[in-house]
Amino acid sequence: MDKPDDTLIMRARDFWASIGLIAISTFFLWKTSDIPLWGENRAGVSGSDWYNSAAIVPLFIFGGLLVLSFVLLAISIRSGGAQHAFSALGIGWDKSEAYRASTIGLILLAYVVGLVPRVDFILCSGLLITALTYGYYGGHARRALVACIAVVVAGLFAFAVFPAQADWNAHGDDWFTLALWVALTLVVLTKAASERVLRFVPLVAILAPLILVCAMAFVFRQNVPARGGLIFKQIEYHYYVTLRPLWKD
């Protein structure tokens, strides 16, 4: 089978997108029925007219979305998208691109959901920067896998061992992440002899999160993730106890 052109690929993707959109808009239209529409009591106030309802605008939006989704489905079918929608070639499935995108997605998921709430921000961001730079510089599939495993294992460990918010200040996951970061950095440095860019990775991975978190916490005086983290806790302590009195006094 010949590879279809880009427009046909797009119409095949539109076929699935329109079906997804029809399902979503139908679900939310059904959910909108929870909001009183005709003269029911709402927010403690008895109303009698349809135009008082908080459901009017959502009905208009999800109704519009449903109509547009059907129009998109019709366009897709008429353009031949439906015929191509059931084959990988038809929807323009690119295995290597999907592999890279899904490993990046997993890394970001592990970072945001597993690491950022629980692990010291400097440590987890250092690991992220090292992993993303090493994994995706130059387009090596095996490196992407190593990077993905490093971050996902750290994220899963933090998530599984310290699931409850009460335990987020514990340091076991910090040490584990640090160990993984050091290991990955050593791997990066072994490759740095032949790839000059990789020599700067450890420096960027330490400095960027360190500067950002310190600027946010001490210059802008804002909340930062995992204040009780292994490294940030020490920085905060010495900032207020050792450094600040120097100019405050």
Partner: protein, 503 residues
């Protein structure tokens, strides 16, 4: 005359107030530098620069400094996009896509320095044209906008979403409208603005206050950019810069009519709600090609063609701020990010905005464009070196910036989950060629639309004629309906038949 003089006096006071403050320069230099860097690095955009700085500076420093940082980055990034367009043949931002058409052939012909110098000058003049227009027209529109009531506001918000959906779709127009509706739908989450009725909260207390603007902006603009940038490894070869960057006055004088025309076009396009710098660049390029005596040279290394797009995209900045400041409707995607910054600072852009803020915005734009001009002429070689930095070094740091910026705005860890969720949706929308800007504009304008639409119905006791009995509302209703009808296949066929007859 008195009116213009009083505006100039107000502007002068605001300008001097900012100019004598040393901190102004610190924020200006840092933000313009960062903006040019973001613009120069393919894969990072002006919207991303403003979005990230919104998370970082949005509500953490006084509003003036926050605006300096955001507007400085905005001006710098739109200009910075010209570097890779000219030297790599890859537009640094969508706004500079038309620039590459003539910029790269010029650099290949050994005229890269001349092209960069004139581009810098044209971008400066373009920004100033847009800024002056903003200074004058914003007041006229503010006077008119006093008569704008709920029905007009609702229809205007809808028009902004529809128009951005129509003009920003790369593929089918319907995809732009769907993106806008998804944005509107997202803005429905939380307590409704009139009766505090909870909608789509699924029992999660975090959702009671609705989707926060900054995590949505970060998710929609930053996450897909990061995934896309890391997925597609494209290393272009930077052409060596030849020739003097400092332009001579004779060539500036020669191209002044082109620069002036493009500045006016850019400002006009920017003033349309929801239409961004990329459209301004292409429209100006198209007009230039039609009216210019050397139109046949466009695309083959014409300085005029280069200046058409580069002037217009920078002039668009001032234009895009007109609907934002007057009506509370962003004129471009970066302006939508800017609106997020206003919101988290409790400044509501629109007819009730403090006029002092507008004067300060104008003064900041002038200062930012001057900083950009000087940096562009005297430190261009630094930015050319930056072009050599691989995206894979820069994007992970952007991810960390995005995370901490999103976290610190207020909602904590839940904001990060929201950012990631919106990012995943935006990534798939990008894959299927749905424009993201209408979604963000929908999220930002959704509550305005909801509130004003329902208030109109409240006040008229459910009488729908309120949307066409008032002259302003009637015009806007016709525009909305006309925009939808113009995209129907029947209308398109009729248009093309008419076009054929006129030829």
């Amino acid at each position: 005359m008195d009116f213009i003089l009083s505006q100039l006096a107000g502007f002068g006071t605001a300008f001097v107030g900012l100019a004598v403050d040393p901190l102004t320069y610190l924020y200006l230099i840092a933000s313009v530098f960062l903006g040019i860097t973001f613009g120069a690095l393919p894969g990072l955009t002006a919207t991303l620069a403003v979005t990230i700085l919104t998370g970082f500076f949005g509500n953490k420093i006084p509003l003036d400094y926050s605006l300096i940082a955001l507007l400085g980055a905005y001006v710098g990034a739109i200009y910075g996009g010209s570097y890779p367009s000219i030297l790599l043949n890859i537009p640094g931002t969508a706004a500079s896509a038309a620039t590459a058409m003539d910029g790269y052939p010029l650099a290949k012909a050994g005229r890269g320095g001349e092209a960069l110098g004139l581009t810098t000058t044209a971008s400066f003049i373009g920004t100033v044209i847009g800024t002056i227009t903003l200074l004058i027209f914003v007041w006229v529109l503010l006077l008119v906008s006093k008569n704008i009531a709920s029905p007009e506001k609702a229809l205007l918000a809808l028009f902004g979403i529809l128009l951005s959906g129509t003009l920003m779709s790369e593929d089918l127009v319907i995809k732009g409208w769907i993106a806008g509706l998804i944005g509107l739908a997202m803005s429905m989450v939380g307590l409704d603005p009139l009766l505090s009725e909870p909608r789509y909260t699924f029992g999660w207390s975090y959702l009671m206050s609705g989707f926060q603007v900054v995590p949505v902006l970060m998710g929609a603009f930053a996450i897909p950019q990061i995934i896309d940038g890391l997925t597609h490894v494209e290393a272009g070869k930077v052409l060596a810069l030849k020739g003097r960057i400092l332009p001579n006055l004779r060539s500036i004088r020669r191209y002044l009519p082109t620069i002036g025309r493009s500045g006016v076009i850019g400002t006009g396009v920017g003033a349309l709600p929801g239409v961004g710098e990329d459209v301004a660049g292409w429209v100006s390029y198209g007009v230039g090609k039609t009216v210019s005596a050397e139109g046949d040279k466009y695309g083959k290394g014409s300085l005029e063609g280069l200046l058409c797009s580069e002037t217009a995209n920078n002039a668009c900045i001032g234009g895009a701020l007109i609907p934002l400041l007057v009506l509370g409707i962003p004129g471009s995607p970066p302006a939508a990010a800017l609106m997020g910054a206003f919101k988290i600072n409790n400044v509501i852009p629109g007819p009730t905005i403090d006029p002092e803020i507008i004067l300060r915005v104008v003064a900041i734009l002038v200062l930012a464009s001057l900083t950009m001009f000087l940096m562009g002429l005297f430190t261009a070689r630094v930015f050319i070196k930056i072009l050599a930095i691989p995206q894979t070094i820069f994007l992970p740091v952007v991810m960390v910036l995005t995370t901490i910026g999103s976290f610190s705005v207020g909602g904590g860890i839940n904001d990060l989950y929201l950012m990631l969720g919106v990012g995943a949706v935006a990534y798939f929308m990008n894959l299927m060629k749905y424009p993201i800007a209408p979604l963000v504009i929908g999220v930002i304008l959704g509550s305005l639309f909801d509130e004003t639409f329902r208030r109109s119905l409240f006040l008229s006791d459910g009488d729908l004629s309120v949307f066409f009995s008032r002259p302003g509302a009637a015009i806007l209703l016709v525009l909305n309906v006309g925009l939808i009808l113009s995209q129907l296949p029947v209308a398109k066929r009729a248009f093309s038949r008419l076009k054929g007859l006129s030829v």
